[in-house]
Every structure is written in structure tokens, then in C-alpha cells.
Subunit: 345 residues, 2 copies
DNA sequence: GTTAGCACTCCATGCACTTGAGTGCTAATA
DNA sequence: TATTAGCACTCAAGTGCATGGAGTGCTAAC
């Protein structure tokens, strides 16, 4: 049962995978002879390819066609046959350019990272930035927008900002809003979440009915914000789904696009990477998400500062250029991490 | 030259448009007879359709096929033939449900509005929220994230929040960051943008070299933020592009998806709506954006509070259900506006 | 173990043919 | 003068069939 995969078989398999990735067409025995330069006839190659088919590494779309790699073959290729991870100087340059702007909004940075990664790899890229576990409140601000409408802004000790729109039953005056804000700010600043609730309501007697409503409402929203994990996913290059997937039909592309739009769906995948802490390649049915079982996923994690990790990855066709894609993902993770950390760390 | 479009021609045109929207197939003369119930033979209908074709309202895909409406026909339909704008009770309910949550992050509100609108209309929806013209600074906060990394947070009088990541050349201590923040906050709070720059740098002598660098850097970022118009576009339902456009080829869908990803591209379109201040329908080549010239666009504006306007719209195939789409867009604009304004306004 | 040779399979292409939907035209009709 | 029945015509789409070619599997010889 245990058939040895000798060097020649490896050479042949490598040739089939590379050729198929390049052309997208089934690879015949004579093509393999040509590519590999092996000093054997196509008949010998055919025999070998027959064995590889029995091993489940190759399949024929139909009897008289060339061979196509299976998911297992891609896995074998990535694990054993792949060459050096590639990234060209111009890619490096593009990434450098992205990161050397001195000041920039961080959301924009992640978004552009995902767009650039998708462009460089011709896939759909996603960058996950877990902003969870914000421990204490640094500043609370209330902004009156109308008689019954107030905006709450929370800044946490980690520099996260939350906004909530509060709709009140009673009208509040500008002055009341200011007093409630000051009270709230001084009452709960620096406190851990679990104690904020109790401290906030203390001293509420000082306010009128409208003020008390605002205070309760704002406090609820603060706790809600702190409790909710504000994880953000940035997705770029969704257009590439259509380009790469037209072979598999438009229906398929649509399903994938919908999955991308429901970001929480992708979230689990990216969270797993945080646990893995190293480059991960999932090919075809290795993906637990059904939507991705016809795709390949390449992802890794990156340091986000303060010991936290983020993750990023791309989704593309199983016949992607693994060397390049893996190289790009690693390069982007490294560059992004470097940008977010102090040089000294 | 001026051929009268009499009632019968209108009836026929209406039937062709409705049938084509429903089935997507060219409409023949006998089908029109059946739909309209006109007491004339199909030959008469043929004659009339011939005239409508000469007028540029109908075309035949090929000689022996039925007729298909042109963009001009859709325009005529929307202007003259369309029935009541439709919106069902269940649609109303879905929108109500979206808006009756008491507290909610405003970004999330816009995002979900675009998703819901896209689902209800089977199109790609976009909601534009112009947060520009933030006049004064309400609060400035600096958060130290590392030795040379500080996050700047700006809150404006309108409740907008800006974040910028500052990378410094010199190391700063926590205490310095706090002092600089306090100085900056008291110096520029409440000032209009144009005076913030001058006031901020005053008194910088109090700080050490690192502090002065931080101050300069932060001030620059504040001004940058206030100057930059933080307009946001929320897009939902991009998957529908693929579903609706498969007839027109995948290449087309890809172009449109890319345009959606470059949001600034869509921005001009949505900004125009702010000037129009009423429901706008652009069919096919009426769209100035080349990417949309095979689509129809339906959009309108909505009140954002403080006299500001936002806009929203959908992009779909020219053969969309105009009654329903227009109804939905209007309903959503109205509901969103109502949610954002005080009931009293 | 390798190879040449050959029969075989199956896809793709092109061609001829049919079918059906729908038109345009014309001459008769109300 | 508007309408209509009738008919010839057009064209897309589907079907059946022959052909070529790419590629395989098998076998017998090396």
C-alpha cells in the first residue's frame, strides 16, 4: 500500500502543478516530458502519472485529457516541492511606500494594506485587527446633537474610540449634557469595566429627570461598548473573486462575495490564525468554511503591539501561485508588524 | 418628425417594459396582445411596435426576435408610464426594525442601512454620510502606545472622531505625553481651524525636545484631520452585482466591483445628489461614470441633522423594477432621516 | 525498467438540417 | 383610413453526424 514517491515522481508532480497553475489547462504526458527535461519517453511519464493518479494526487477531467492536480497534490506541493518564496524588489517597494507615511489614520492603514495585498497577489485579501479587551476608560465625551439626541464618545486606555448615538425620551439642555459628561468622565475614568457600572450611577441625585435618563443611557452604552469586542476586518480586492472564479460559475462567486460581506463569517477563520501564530495554508476541503472549500487560503499573524496579535490572509483559487502568494503574505505581515511596533521592541 | 405617442402606443410600451423587467426575455407582438388585453390583432401591435422602434424606444436583438426596451424607453417609462411607487408592509417592518434599536454606533447604522436596502431591492446599495465641515475642536487626547508611538484622538464639536497614529523620532515618556495632551487640549479647544495652528505652538518652550516634537507632530495631524473631509461611503450588496450582471459577462461585473472598492469614485455621484435634493434616476448612458453606463442608478438625499444632507442610492440593471426600487430608496431615505433628526425638527 | 506502437476514448469543431418564434409586407376588409 | 389575415422570410437554438486531434492504456519488444 505504501507506494514510495520517488524523486522522479516528485519532479513530474511538480511539473504538473506548476504547468497547471500557469496555464489552467490539463497537463499531458508529453508536456511533462518537455517541461521537466527528463530523459525518458512520454510513455514512462504516463505510467508514473497513472501511479500518481492512483495515489489520489492527480485526476483526469475525462478519459482522453491531461491530468489536473488534486487538493492533496497542492498540499504535497506546498509542503514538499515548493521552491523559494518569492517577492520581487518592486513589491517590496510598493509595501514600503504604503508604510512610510508619517501620520495616518490607523483604519486607513489596515484598509490600504488589504487593498495592496490583494493587488499584489490577484486574490481577495483580508486584514484582521482585534481591538478587543479594552480594559479601562480614559475619557468620556458627550456631544449634544439635538433636543433628544446625544452622541457618546468613549476613548479607552488602548486608544480605541467608540461612538454611540443616544436617543432620549426627554429633552436635555446643553448645560445638562456638559454636567453629565463631566460627572461620568470623572466617575469612571481609569476604572476597569466591572466597576464602571457601580461608580457611574453614584451621585445621580444631583441631576434632574432628563439628566438622570441621559446618565443611565450613556452608562449603558459605555458598558455595551466596552463589552462588545470591537474586532475589525478589512477586506480588499473582492473584484478578484469574479476574475478568478469565472470557471467555477457566477453562482459560486456570488456565494463567496456574500460571505465576504458578512464579515463575522470570515472572522472565525482569522481568529484561528491568532492561535496558530505561524503561516497557515488551507487548500480546498481543508477549509472548515464551506464557502471556501473550492478555494485556497493563505494567512498568518502579525504583532499589533502590547503583546497583541492580528492576522491577515488571502483567499484565491486552489491553483494559485503559492510561492508568490506565501511570500507576499509573509512580507505584508512582517511590514505591518514592523510599522505597528516600536523599532526597539 | 414629431410622431404622436398615443395612448395605445403607451400601453404597448408599458407592457413591453414590464414584461421585459419581469422575464428578461424579448417581448413579441402576440405576448403584448395577451398582456394588454387590447382588442386588436398582433399584426396591429407589430405595426405599432415598428413605429416605437423607429422612435428609438425599442430594439430587436436580431431580426426574428421580440423587442427589448432601450434606455430611452426606460426613461420614458419612469417619467410617464410608471405606476404607484411600491413598498410592502413587510419592507416597512424590516426598516423599522433596523431603526428602533435605542443605542447604536452610527457607522454601524449606516452600514446596516446599506445592507438592508441592497437586500430589499436586489441591487448594490450605497449610503453617503458627509461628515465634512467640522468647525472646531472639542477635545484632543494623546495615548502613548510605545516609546515612539502615540495615538492622537480628535473629537470635534459635531461629534466626529479622528484617530491618527504618530511615529516619532525621539522617545517620549508617559508623563510628557500627558502634559503635551493637556496643553494641546486647552490651547486649541473651541477654536476654529484657522486659529488652531497658531495657538497650539504657543508655549511650546515649556517642553523638552521630545515634547516639542510630539506637540508639532500632533498639531500637524490635528490640522490635517480637520482639513481632510471625512466623507464616508457605506456599500452593501456587492454580491448582487454578480447575480444581475451575469448576462453582461463577468468582465463587466469585475469592473463594477473595482469601482465600488474605489469609493471615492462613487463619491462624486453621491455628492451630486446633495445638490439635486430630490429623487434622481439615471438610466444607462445618462450616468456620467463610464462604469455605470450599463446600469441604472436610483438615489436621493436625506437630512443628516444640523441642516446637513446625506445621500443614498442603489445601482442595478437597467431592467430593474423601478416602482419598487424607487419606493424603497425613498422609504429608506425618509426613515434614515427621521432616525437622525429629532422628532421635533 | 523503459519504450515504441497502436487501438481506443472523448472533446471540440464544423456542417447540415429542423424547428419555432417572430417579423415585415401585401392585399383584402370594415 | 385603420385593421387584419395570410404568407414568405429571417434567425437563434437545438440536434445529429462526421472529423481531427490530444491524450491515454495496454502490450510486446528491448
Amino acid at each position: 500500500m505504501t507506494v514510495e514517491i520517488d524523486d522522479r515522481k516528485k519532479t513530474i508532480l511538480r511539473a504538473v502543478v506548476r504547468s497547471f497553475i500557469l496555464t489552467g489547462k490539463p497537463v499531458g504526458s508529453s508536456a511533462v516530458t518537455e517541461i521537466t527535461g527528463l530523459k525518458v519517453s512520454s510513455a514512462t511519464i504516463r505510467n508514473e502519472m497513472g501511479v500518481l493518479e492512483e495515489l489520489g494526487l492527480l485526476i483526469q477531467p475525462h478519459t482522453s485529457a491531461g491530468r489536473v492536480p488534486t487538493d492533496i497534490a497542492y498540499r504535497f506541493y506546498v509542503d514538499m516541492l515548493m521552491g523559494q518564496r518569492r517577492s520581487s524588489a518592486s513589491d517590496n517597494e510598493a509595501i514600503e511606500k504604503l508604510f512610510n507615511a508619517r501620520t495616518r489614520e490607523i483604519e486607513g492603514l489596515f484598509q490600504e494594506a488589504s487593498l495592496l495585498l490583494s493587488r499584489l497577489t490577484h486574490t481577495t485579501a483580508m486584514v484582521f485587527a482585534p481591538f478587543s479587551a479594552a480594559d479601562t476608560v480614559r475619557h468620556v465625551e458627550l456631544v449634544r446633537l439635538g433636543d433628544r439626541r446625544v452622541m457618546l464618545i468613549v476613548i479607552t486606555s488602548k486608544g480605541l474610540v467608540g461612538r454611540r448615538l443616544l436617543s432620549l425620551d426627554l429633552e436635555v439642555k446643553n448645560e445638562t449634557v456638559g454636567r453629565v459628561a463631566a460627572h461620568l468622565d470623572s466617575a469612571i475614568c481609569g476604572l476597569p469595566v466591572e466597576r464602571a457600572a457601580a461608580s457611574g450611577v453614584a451621585g445621580k441625585a444631583r441631576f434632574g429627570e432628563a439628566g438622570r435618563e441621559l446618565l443611565a443611557c450613556a452608562l449603558e452604552a459605555v458598558i455595551d461598548y466596552l463589552g462588545a469586542i470591537e474586532d475589525r476586518v478589512f477586506i480588499g480586492g473582492t473584484a478578484n473573486i469574479v476574475r478568478e472564479m469565472d470557471a467555477a460559475g457566477t453562482e459560486w462567486a456570488q456565494v463567496l462575495l456574500e460571505a465576504m460581506e458578512k464579515q463575522y463569517f470570515i472572522l472565525d477563520l482569522l481568529k484561528e490564525l491568532l492561535r496558530e501564530r505561524r503561516l497557515t495554508v488551507r487548500i480546498g476541503e481543508e477549509n472548515s468554511l464551506r464557502e471556501l472549500q473550492r478555494c485556497a487560503f493563505v494567512g498568518t499573524s502579525y504583532p499589533l503591539g502590547s503583546g497583541l496579535l492580528g492576522s491577515l490572509g488571502v483567499v484565491g483559487p486552489t491553483c494559485m501561485d503559492y510561492e508568490r502568494t506565501i511570500g507576499m503574505v509573509e512580507l505584508m505581515a512582517e511590514s505591518l508588524g514592523r510599522r505597528l511596533l516600536e523599532p526597539e521592541d
